[in-house]
């Protein structure tokens, strides 16, 4: 079974840097994820949104990579949010307590609306 290597596109949406994640978030994803995060960080927004719409697999190494991004965001006083997680990965974000530290939204629109209103 071929690994679907992670591809990430970074864009700006209403003062939110959005990372469109496509593929698997596993050990192979580290470089793509960290490079994209640096590009998002450079956009100088207060909020970075991880869009998981194109992600169908996250393993424990992927969870560790997301913990690393969250640590970087907190260190630079940025908010890290997530949207379009499947029901299963919402559960995993809950039991790992990632959802205590990053807002989880059902879709991009609700995440951006929340940020715009706050």
């Amino acid at each position: 079974m071929a690994v679907r290597h992670l591809n990430v596109e970074v864009r700006l949406e209403s003062d939110v840097a959005v990372l469109d994640l496509m593929g698997e978030i596993n050990g192979f994803a580290e470089e793509a994820l960290n490079t994209a995060y640096q590009q998002a960080h450079a956009k100088d927004t207060n909020t970075i949104l991880l869009n998981f719409e194109g992600v169908d697999y996250i393993n424990s190494t992927g969870i560790a990579l997301i913990v690393g991004l969250l640590a970087k965001a907190r260190a630079s006083h940025k908010r890290l949010l997530a949207c379009n997680l499947s029901e299963h990965y919402v559960e995993i974000f809950n039991i790992t307590r990632l959802s205590d530290f990053m807002g989880i939204f059902p879709d991009e629109q609700s995440a951006v609306s929340e940020i715009s209103a706050s």
Binding site: M1, V3, E24, N26, G27, F28, Y57, N59, S60, T61, I63, A64, L65, V67, G68, L70, A71, R74, S86, E87, H88, E91, I92, I95, T96, R97, L98, D100, F101
Partner: protein
């Protein structure tokens, strides 16, 4: 009074759904996960319960490939899927030596990880334990086996 039912044999109580192996190469946990899912497609495990089992199988296979077999591709991870009475069991065996790994699975300290006081990794056993009804690890001189159990019934999983 009806005739007593004949005693069921071990073969009737236990059914092997699949037995296969995967090379210890990064990414092959998905192959194991999807093969198990295919093997149990006729059982009453659906939706979120199936996703939980798949995650547990993937994480256990990753542990076996990484910690047991040191990602040596020529050393396989063996997977057996069994149904016994009302339990689904998945046994994942590596060629690790030494004492079996700790049952572990305590909730990782996310705050410590975010503060850089602990490595961001270390989620595997915790995820496995959270996803299935029972987990145990056994071993001998040349093998470690992790057994995942899902109770089949109305809930069809944890």
């Amino acid at each position: 009074m009806t005739d007593p039912k004949p005693a069921r044999t071990d073969a009737e109580l236990r059914r092997t759904m699949a037995e296969f192996s995967v090379p210890s190469e990064p990414g092959n946990e998905r192959l194991a996960m999807e093969t198990v899912a295919e093997a149990i497609r006729d059982l009453d495990i659906r939706g979120e319960n199936l996703e939980r089992l798949k995650t547990a199988v993937a994480e256990a296979t990753m542990n076996a490939m990484e910690h047991g077999n040191k990602y040596r591709a020529e050393v396989p991870v063996e997977v057996m899927v069994l149904v016994e009475d009302r339990d689904l069991m998945v046994r994942i065996t590596d060629r690790g030596s030494g004492p079996p790994p700790s049952q572990g699975g305590d909730t990782p300290d996310l705050e410590a990880k975010l503060e850089g006081m602990q490595t961001p990794r270390g989620w595997g056993l915790f995820l496995i334990k959270s996803m299935v009804d029972e987990m145990s690890i056994t071993g001998d001189d040349g093998h470690h086996t992790i057994e995942l159990v899902v109770h089949l019934g109305a809930e069809g999983g944890k």
